[in-house]
């Protein structure tokens, strides 16, 4: 199928627009889709997430030859989603899918975000271990600075604190 905008290049991106509750789908080439995204409207209530995934998949997969390396029968035990149905819909099935499909997801997420490491907020509950890890990283930086400034006594105190925290990690 060719791009509906330029009729020249093959359509690789599907965009679903919803305007006043009415849905319309557009099939565009990468170039026209990018242009459209930059300059104009995805509609009055723009979709939180855009259906630009299909192109991301192809790039990520061809780069890493994932399609071959991972059997498409992989199935999330919690929700039953298979990798191939994820690939079709662009949607994961549950929180556990992120563990099940971690290897396949990493390059896709990197393609989308340019990063695959969350650096933001951590939930209070359930995130205790992560909070400790984060604190340890901060303390290690602090210790480095102190060593550079030759404040060895203070650095030793920080080192003890790091050890104490590491003891709390499972």
């Amino acid at each position: 199928m060719y791009c509906q905008q330029c009729n020249q290049r093959p359509a690789t991106v599907y965009i679903t627009k919803i305007i006043n509750g009415e849905k319309s789908e557009m099939h565009l080439c990468q170039e026209c889709a990018t242009k459209m995204q930059e300059t104009s409207g995805f509609g009055w209530d723009p979709h939180f997430s855009m259906n630009l995934l299909s192109s991301f998949f192809e790039e990520a997969e061809s780069a890493l030859n994932l399609a071959r390396n991972f059997p498409k029968t992989d199935r999330c035990e919690t929700c039953g989603l298979t990798y191939s149905s994820f690939r079709q819909s662009g949607k994961l099935g549950c929180s556990d899918c992120y563990n099940t499909f971690m290897a396949q997801l990493s390059p896709v997420i990197r393609q989308i975000h340019g990063s695959e490491k969350h650096t933001g907020k951590i939930p209070e509950r359930g995130g205790e271990q992560l909070h400790i890890k984060k604190k340890i990283e901060q303390l290690k930086d602090k210790m480095q600075e102190m060593v550079q400034r030759e404040e060895f006594e203070k650095a030793a105190e920080v080192r003890d604190e790091i050890r104490r925290l590491e003891g709390k990690l499972k």
Binding site: G21, T39, W44, L92, G93, S95, I109, H113, K117, E124
Partner: protein
């Protein structure tokens, strides 16, 4: 028309009334957080019973935790809200079109309409804070508070590497979408909007024209939001958007000065003609109304047109939409009738009050 004012008051949202930093150009600031519950299928895979369980859990968390800090917040199943009211919530940006489609399985918690928590949209939870003017930090602070209160009672799906999990991997990480709605008639009229806005992708921001299809942004309204949700923390995302917004505001102000200098009386003529049309026309479709409101608003902001409260302009942009209009007029109407009533409402509301 006192009666209109009363009815409008009933459906007005806080974000339309308020003022604040750069309120003449930044119409509103919004922060949305996507959250999901651990081990429960996302809404697109959930059957009705599972969806109801999610609603019950969220309701419990709202009632026992969030209410402590936001006493007026109340969760309602979408199926219990009548059709017109739902349309109005959508027009006021308090629920999304996708939530409307999930009607049978969805719910929404609202306070005095700064906070809304959508349940079973694309994700189990979409926490939103919508404020007038440039108040991204405040919007983030409040959304964060709601998030923390909910999290005390709910087990969130959180992945050590990827952060907050979401149904679509475009939102994973912070799960945060921060946005501002901007009124940029100066940049559009001086033909600078394309340049200024297309440069934003360099800052990881996305621009959308509001209200319309095609390339033209109706009413000169644009929404700018962060494109990616991972690799930067929430503060960084907010700071970046805030700083860039400030720069766009400066450019818009400069463009307005250029217009004033170069067009002079021509500009005044154009803006007053827009006022004249709004004040006397008998038939008005939404598109034309938005475009004229934008021009009159520019006239008010530039002190060319005096005696109109600029806040009325924001309010009217919302009130002329089909749902709100029918509510204000107290009856269902076909599109032709709406155009007549829209013109009527605009005539009454746009009068210069103390000229």
């Amino acid at each position: 028309m006192v009666a209109y004012k009363d009815i409008i008051k009933r459906i007005r949202s806080r974000w339309m009334e308020g003022s604040g930093a750069q309120a003449d150009i930044v119409i509103s600031s919004r922060v949305r957080l996507a959250r999901n519950l651990q081990g429960i299928p996302f809404p697109h895979l959930a059957d009705k019973q599972t969806a109801q369980e999610v609603i019950n859990k969220v309701k419990e968390a709202i009632d026992t935790s969030v209410k402590k800090e936001f006493p007026t917040i109340q969760l309602t199943a979408l199926s219990e809200i009548d059709r017109l009211q739902k349309q109005i919530l959508f027009e006021k940006h308090l629920i999304s079109s996708q939530l409307l489609e999930q009607d049978e399985k969805a719910a929404v918690a609202l306070d005095e309409e700064e906070i809304s928590v959508m349940v079973n949209e694309e994700d189990h939870l979409r926490i939103q804070c919508l404020l007038p003017a440039l108040q991204l930090h405040e919007a983030w602070r409040k959304a964060d508070m709601v998030d923390n209160s909910l999290e005390r009672k709910l087990d969130y799906g959180f992945n050590e590497q990827f952060g907050y999990v979401t149904a679509c991997p475009t939102n994973v990480g912070t799960g945060m979408r921060a946005s501002v709605m901007l009124h940029l008639p100066g940049l559009v009229m001086t033909k600078r909007a394309g340049n200024v806005l297309s440069a934003l992708s360099k800052f990881g921001l996305v621009v959308r024209g509001l209200y319309g299809e095609g390339t033209e942004a109706l009413g000169n309204l644009f929404q700018v939001s962060n494109q990616i949700t991972m690799g930067r923390n929430e503060e960084e995302i907010i700071n970046n958007l805030s700083n860039v917004t400030q720069k766009i505001v400066d450019q818009e102000r400069e463009a307005r000065q250029v217009l004033k200098k170069e067009l002079g009386t021509q500009l005044e003529d154009k803006l007053w003609r827009a006022y004249g049309t709004l004040r006397y026309a008998r038939i008005m479709d939404t598109q034309q109304a938005l475009s004229l409101l934008s021009q009159v608003r520019l006239g008010v902001d530039m002190k060319i047109i005096k005696g109109i409260d600029p806040r009325i302009m924001t309010e009217l942009m919302i009130m002329i939409q089909p749902g709100c209009l029918q509510y204000i007029m107290g009856q269902e109407m076909n599109p032709n009738m709406r155009d007549v009533y829209r013109a009527h409402l605009l005539r009454e509301r746009i009068k210069i009050e103390n000229a």
